[in-house]
Symmetry: C2
Subunit: 219 residues, 2 copies
Amino acid sequence: MKSEKISELTTKRLSVYLRCLQTLDRDGIHTISSRAMAEQFHLNSAQIRKDLAYFGEFGVRGVGYQVDQLAQHLTKILGLNLLHHVCICGAGNLGRALCDYAGFNTEGFKIVALFDQDPRKIGTLSRSGVPVYDIKKLKQVVRKEDVDIAVVTVPADAAQKVVDMICDTGVKAILNFAPVRLRVNSAVKLKTVDLKVSLESLSYFLSNPASPVAVHPPE
Amino acid sequence: MKSEKISELTTKRLSVYLRCLQTLDRDGIHTISSRAMAEQFHLNSAQIRKDLAYFGEFGVRGVGYQVDQLAQHLTKILGLNLLHHVCICGAGNLGRALCDYAGFNTEGFKIVALFDQDPRKIGTLSRSGVPVYDIKKLKQVVRKEDVDIAVVTVPADAAQKVVDMICDTGVKAILNFAPVRLRVNSAVKLKTVDLKVSLESLSYFLSNPASPVAVHPPE
């Protein structure tokens, strides 16, 4: 069988595992089995073992995972031991919201610049003190501030143009919130966040409230 | 092996499959194999087959899935053939951004109300024309507007209080953007969106740019 590249879904699961481990650590739990972790956080225990086994032998049979050690490993695997400088292109409601979002501007990430084309916004500061620059100065500011991740929060019809500008700066990772398909060159990693997916998950549960069902067959 | 409940990750994957199928449909593709779908959208073909097999026999061996039929099935499974009325609690940057977010206010979902406690915001309209109500009128408006999903975009320290108010209205599904752990009674489905997960996925790719690796062993 052909092997497949590590998918975005897999890295998402690693992030979820890291969150769970951080929660356990805060709760004073030192070791946990894949089964207990799966039960507590409504995950799939076979999937946990499979995902983590790929990255090395973290667990001890009969004991489980060492919570703090595994959290450290995942932090490193996810590259969160480095500090990433993030810029946000589009200083509208969503751009400003993300800029001030407490969960966004934490360990591993620092938002250093907002960009917009609106003269009324350029030169102002976000609530958290991040300056809004003219989008024309993107390349210059990205270099000066050592930005390695760009977030796109412009309207859908402006997104491709802005993504082209970002690619031109040499930034290799783009997080896009515009609900539109975008093209990038193969050296750039583009990730589009579809916030509607979360609503659809709730919609599923509203349609199936009384029937928690088995979906993962034994492996 | 004990069967596990259908997880949020599974419903997320169903949403992702639905997006892929809609894209294929727009591109004029009528049938597709799980393998081709996995390759085109960087998914795991074994996982696709497993997820979809649970919900019935959608594929035809040697031919693949019928794109439009499978999309219709997933739409129904996800409850998107019904219209959900959504309210947003917190008319700050994030609440307003979501209210006007083109990807949010589409088929299956209609945002009918914003709530806030700030007298300067109460009585105003969002850019898309959604009224901002006094949060004190939550129960009354939820009933009048037949709201079945509530989105929480208040600051972290106000989130629990607002979630308690939402539970009191009888709404059974809550989408929370506040980066904080919240308690709800067991009849309510609470989903917390952690936007940082997406940044972490990019961080992973920045740390591992040259090594697309096999992570899914043959099953």
